[in-house]
Assembly symmetry: C2
Homo-oligomer: 291 residues x 2
Amino acid sequence: MLLGSIEAGGTKFVCAVGDGDYRIKNQTVIPTTTPAETLTATINYFKQFKLDAIGIASFGPIEIRRHADDYGFITKTPKPGWSQTDFVGPIRQALDCPVAWTTDVNGSAYGEYVMAGLTNAQLDSLVYYTIGTGVGAGAVINGQFLGAVGHPEMGHVLVKRHPDDLAFKGICPFHGDCLEGLVAGPTFEARTGRPGSEVPLTDPVWDIMSYYVAQAALQTTLTIRPDKIVFGGGVVSEGFLQKVRRDFKTLLNGYVTVPALADYLTVPLMANNGSATLGDFALAAQELKRA
Amino acid sequence: MLLGSIEAGGTKFVCAVGDGDYRIKNQTVIPTTTPAETLTATINYFKQFKLDAIGIASFGPIEIRRHADDYGFITKTPKPGWSQTDFVGPIRQALDCPVAWTTDVNGSAYGEYVMAGLTNAQLDSLVYYTIGTGVGAGAVINGQFLGAVGHPEMGHVLVKRHPDDLAFKGICPFHGDCLEGLVAGPTFEARTGRPGSEVPLTDPVWDIMSYYVAQAALQTTLTIRPDKIVFGGGVVSEGFLQKVRRDFKTLLNGYVTVPALADYLTVPLMANNGSATLGDFALAAQELKRA
């Protein structure tokens, strides 16, 4: 069996081919330029193989309701040239195989859900946050994605402001100081004039960051009660998550029972965002069974 | 077929018996005193009937995981005398029928989900908030409750503070200014010295309230993407929800598509919290099929 994976990001498409055990047999990276150019290069790459099914985890927003007229489209995206792009249609037509279609964070969430399930039979639900250029999250509950009328956009919730951060307006063009507006990677430049990679963890700005990310973990805990919350993306490190766990514990104040925090709020099990590729393979295999 | 319903609240147990069409055939109200006294009176009431199944929607926190040793218990509740009370055990033993067991808000959520489904075939998911003495919410997604490792506690999320309300500390004994600490009924006394029923909707305190409740709706929307969010409880009126819809629209800023707000953010379809009884009947009927 050969399965395909497209991790479709705003700067690059990570394409991979795997076998029935989800082992990667081949991979390539295609820059994200125009839809026509990028999709053509993607299709040409996969045409070298005879795929049984393919999974796509795409930047968005995207249409995920199967009965919608524009199912499989990237919809109203801020990325120039990509609004109202039919993504699934051309792929399915060219590769003639079942196509699984979900958001980038759902793909990663599913990969981490599969990985965590390899060692933890009790794990039924998992939420995956990415905190990078943007902030988003996907949730898997008993093998199903959360969000029937559309995918979650947990990156844009509002949070209680940190008392030392009240002057910062936030950088989200839609909501100002929503979660993404307060903790996305570019907030480091906006707050400190330096990229986050140059700001040491001892800098107080990281405590402001952890206060907000801990609130995201709190909202997720009190709303979804998942078994595990994974944080990926360029902003996240184990050192940062130690601060997040500290603030989460204070904010939750023992109100509900959660697993040991070192197991509950974690970095991804798969390095280098490999969880998206694994998730795509697993979703492709599922789609094949559906077909 | 005869189905039972217990809507177990902190001040009273509303008990009802219904038929297979969920029509109420008999009902009574039992004051909530000690567990022994209240459960005995409840059992004696239902023993008059030969129930096929019963549904219980209880105040909490409660243990809902079927594999847990204390499944069916009210766990660590602030209500004096009721911590670690086995609720399902005595009821099942005395009435010798299947027992469905969930939280008070889940019961109401399920009742509203059944009601809304009578006229809307597209409705797959619904969230029910109660805003009264406390604040809580339950969510139904494709007939299943959200929350595998425990029930949601959405009443205790944090929210961005209203600029005219920064001096108010909130009244939640666990978290101070969490959502419940800012919008539960007793906040009217704390903020204005008057009960909410005596504060006209033109008072600016209602705009502070609606800003917070709109954030709860926003969090729920961006996290769960439900088809409908229902608000019940003593604080809620259609006039108040008009303010909530206004603030929700501003906060969401068109970021994701939601149904028309008059259909999306609503008061309960069932008056006088009848949704809990209906939900219990429906859950009891399901439990009967499971058994």
